[in-house]
């Protein structure tokens, strides 16, 4: 049941029948609904991407030298810490509507020969709210480095 079909809360008081409709301008405007739902979906995508990056970051494959881990941390630490940090405000909501996948970035150049650099680039895309691009890059990353961060899962 959609909210527009309800006139009251109704979810916890099944005995309460809908009352007369409020004036039309008292209903949540469609533009507001779209904006909120878009933000909600993007928040979920944000955390899914963050989780994938976290997994890659925290579970490097066996045999990687210690230096590689340190470099990885240095490369993406700032972005990833920001992504994974304070749960009180984990999503860049202020930017949620400000960008789309066509937004140009200053960080388009990425060295795909270096997984650490590439992951850092993807983290930056997520931070910028460019989720389509980040997901596309992650898929490409997985094709190039199928075992990276996935061992012992």
């Amino acid at each position: 049941m959609s909210g527009s079909e309800r006139t009251g809360r109704g979810t916890h008081k099944p005995g309460v029948a809908p009352g007369p409709p409020w004036p039309p301008d008292d209903r949540s405007p469609p533009e507001l609904d779209e904006a909120v739902l878009d933000a909600a979906r993007r928040a979920v995508r944000f955390h899914r991407l963050t989780h994938l990056l976290e997994r890659a970051h925290l579970s490097p494959v066996a045999g990687w030298p210690l230096l590689a881990g340190i470099m990885l941390g240095a490369a993406i630490c700032a972005g990833l810490d920001w992504l994974l940090g304070d749960d009180a405000d984990p999503v860049p909501l202020g930017r949620i509507h400000a960008r789309d996948s066509s937004t140009p970035s200053k960080r388009e150049d990425v060295d795909r020969r270096s997984p650490t650099s590439w992951l850092g680039h993807i983290a930056a895309l997520v931070r910028d709210g460019r989720f389509d691009d980040a997901e596309s890059q992650l898929r490409a990353f997985r094709q190039s480095y199928p075992d990276y961060g996935e061992k012992e899962q």
């Binding site: 006139t7 979810t11 009352g19 405007p29 507001l32 909600a40 979906r41 928040a43 979920v44 984990p90």
Partner: protein, 179 residues
């Protein structure tokens, strides 16, 4: 999904189920917007405030604990956001109306839908004093006195008393405007 409680939906959303949020939002979007719209007076401000309230809920989804009902949580967020907004602009909620003491009108949590609909149909709610208006607006959305008290940071009995006074004003005005 429709049969799940609000609290279950919120937990699902926190775990990454965007459809759970869509269901939850569908249940409450109009009620929240009405609450905001009728408090702040103009549609543009209501749009901005309601948008911000929902974003706050999205941001706080992992901190939501189902010890309180979802509606209590949501409307408390809304109330606090509106108070912050008015403080930031150095103004107070529009205050009109003419409070009177009438304590003899029974109001119970189990008032039927007709009683709530009677109030809902009135266009006079916005003329109430702010402290009574918010109680009435929560009441017509189906919230109980304990929940309303929690949202407005009042003992339930105080909330009930304010509701009685507000309903008395509304009924008096309605009778006065009857042909």
């Amino acid at each position: 999904m429709d049969e799940l409680s609000d609290e279950s939906l919120m937990r699902r959303y926190a775990d990454g189920d965007a459809r759970a949020f869509e269901t939850l939002f569908g249940r409450h979007k109009d009620a929240l917007y009405r609450f905001v719209r009728r408090q702040c007076g103009d549609a543009e401000t209501a749009f901005e405030l309601a948008h911000d309230i929902w974003l706050k809920l999205i941001a706080a989804r992992r901190r939501f604990r189902p010890s309180a009902r979802f509606t209590t949580y949501l409307f408390t967020l809304a109330r606090n956001r509106m108070i912050d907004d008015y403080r930031s602009w150095g103004r107070s909620l529009p205050a009109t109306g003419d409070p009177i003491d009438v304590e003899d009108l029974p109001t119970r949590d189990d008032d039927g839908p007709e009683a709530r609909a009677d109030v809902r149909s009135l266009a006079l709610v916005q003329a109430l004093p702010p402290d009574q208006r918010e109680i009435v607006l929560l009441y017509v959305e189906g919230l109980g006195m304990a929940e309303i008290g929690a949202i407005a940071d009042l003992p339930a009995e105080t909330a009930r008393s304010r509701l009685r006074r507000a309903l008395a004003i509304l009924r008096r005005q309605l009778e006065g405007s009857a042909p």
